[in-house]
């Protein structure tokens, strides 16, 4: 996997990716099992960090983190280590992120995956989706399928709402100063 796609993936995780980068990443992910694997690992760790950011016990978070990684194959740890500064944006606290990852990389390999059953129960497979790309959000209704990895329909929905927002503002130029039609005309015009 090229450095360029790693950068894009990191930008996605940080919420900084542009639509163009997202599309390129999706295209590449369809061709590259390696990229899909890395993407999945990133999300597993991101999910663990988010859970920790909500005030959970650090040790428990570490256990969950490594249980998820073990359940998912445990690959790509070096990539995670080198990119950990990017994950700060995903965690509620940058300090917590560094602590969790720092300890996990050093000590996590010795942990038994005793939480594997819990993780498996929280992972629900949707038709046409990879098992590790779909999970139940901790704070979401229990029966809700929430993907960690956005599908094309998710990206299309976000783009469509951006377009709707731009049009609505364009029709109300006094709200924001009147240049909003520019966004509609230039919307993904490449």
């Amino acid at each position: 996997m090229s450095t360029q796609f790693k950068e894009m993936l990191s930008a996605v995780m940080d919420g900084e990716a542009t639509e163009f980068e997202m599309r390129r990443l999706f295209d590449e992910a369809q061709r590259s099992p390696d990229l899909r694997g890395v993407w999945s690992r990133y999300h597993l760790i991101g999910a663990a960090l988010r859970r920790e950011g909500r005030g959970g016990d650090q040790q428990a978070a570490l256990d969950r983190l490594w249980a998820r990684i073990d359940a998912g194959g445990g690959a790509e740890r070096d990539v995670v280590r080198t990119r950990r500064y990017r994950f700060a944006a995903l965690a509620a606290s940058a300090a917590v992120a560094v602590v969790v990852l720092g300890i996990a990389v050093d000590a996590g390999r010795h942990r038994a995956s005793r939480h594997g059953a819990e993780i498996a129960a929280a992972t629900t497979q949707a038709p046409g989706e990879a098992a590790d790309s779909v999970r139940v959000l901790d704070d979401a209704p229990s029966a809700t399928l929430v993907r960690d990895v956005p599908s094309e329909s998710d990206v299309a929905r976000a783009r469509a709402y951006m377009l709707h927002h731009a049009r609505h503002l364009a029709l109300n130029p006094r709200v924001t100063g009147g240049v909003q039609y520019v966004k509609v005309a230039a919307f993904e015009s490449r």
Partner: protein, 333 residues
């Protein structure tokens, strides 16, 4: 790679000072107000660039007031052929039949769009510090440079170049808290208050090129708050509801609750819909300064979950905080 960054600038800020325009000294709020009037009341024909953080577009805008009716034509000059023609409150988008924008329209709420309630620029000053920085030059025209700096981290700032004589916006920059320019709009050339040939305001007929039209309508609604049980529990200071409605998507006929909020300069929309049958991703997406954040929320007891999408020109953290605060309130209060 993706962003241009400001070099530190040694600028002597003229806090609260007024810079003379055609009608004498004006405060920053006066300049903003006259800019808005210039947009809708003046004739202008110009070519400008628009940079959204990723891509640079070139467009021509022709604007005139004919028999008291605002008419405007916006032509995309490179890439996909697109024209937007506005006559009063009617807007027609002229695009090629294969334009991706048409496919997106099938999945988004259709109009009519209701006119938003706006705040005055006096209110805007509660949340932004407006400063006249001096004078500059854009499109071979003298300009007044204004800085609009947010007083908190919940919104972006702006730098504006306004035509010294006509108050038309000649250049704008949308700037995040780190000084990164997220969007840039700038005229390369513009003629202001010159006669406009009416034929320039009509979409050009292109032989051999298919066109599709999408009509949008604006209707004034006196009550900005039709009943909806969805509430945003947290808003950045100064943001208030500007529009609120329930739309249906053409493709699925799903109803989508839409709420738009504005602080007078920035705006974001909140979309609430039933969870799609094939699920959805909790994600953050952005294009230029526009961010989209999604989350899942509980709806009425016993109902399916709902998908919340917040879209706007606000920082990701603000959009996420707004999204997390959206609640279903059965009492409608």
């Amino acid at each position: 790679m993706r962003r241009w960054r400001f070099a530190p600038l040694a600028i002597v800020l003229l806090h609260g000072a007024a810079i003379s325009g055609q009608d004498g000294p004006r405060s920053p709020a006066d300049w903003l107000d006259s800019m808005n009037h210039a947009f809708v009341e003046r004739n202008y024909d110009g070519v400008f660039s628009y940079f959204d953080g990723d891509d640079l577009s070139a467009l021509r805008v022709i604007h005139a007031v004919v028999d008291g009716v605002q008419r405007e034509r916006l032509i995309h000059l490179n890439g996909t052929l697109r024209e937007i023609v506005r006559t009063g409150n009617e807007v027609v988008c002229v695009v090629r039949p294969d334009d991706a924008i048409l496919k997106l329209e099938e999945s988004i709420p259709s109009g009519p769009f209701f006119q938003a309630f706006t705040r005055t620029f006096d209110d805007v000053s509660d949340n932004y510090r407006m400063t006249l920085e001096g004078e500059g030059r854009v499109a071979d025209r003298d300009a007044v440079i204004m800085s609009v700096t947010p007083k908190d981290d919940d919104r972006y700032g702006y730098r504006l170049w306004l035509d010294r004589d006509k108050s038309l916006l000649l250049r704008s920059e949308l700037i995040d808290g780190k000084g990164t320019r997220l969007e840039i709009f700038q005229f390369a050339s513009v003629a202001i208050d010159q006669p406009i040939d009416p034929s320039l305001l009509a979409a050009r007929a292109q032989s051999g090129v298919g066109m599709s039209r999408v009509a949008l309508q604006v209707a004034r609604r006196d009550d900005p708050s039709p009943p909806t049980a969805w509430r945003v529990a947290w808003l950045p200071d100064g943001f208030a509801v500007a529009a609120r409605d329930v739309y249906r998507t053409p493709a699925s006929d799903n109803s989508v609750n839409t709420l738009m909020y504005s602080d007078g300069l920035a705006a974001f929309s909140v979309f609430v819909e039933e969870m799609p049958k094939n699920g959805a991703a909790r994600m953050v997406s952005r294009q230029g300064a526009t961010v989209a954040v999604t989350r899942v929320a509980h709806g009425p007891a016993g109902s399916t979950p709902y998908l919340i999408t917040v879209v706007g020109e606000v920082p990701v953290a603000t959009a996420q905080k707004v999204a997390e605060s959206v609640r279903y309130n059965a009492s409608g209060q």
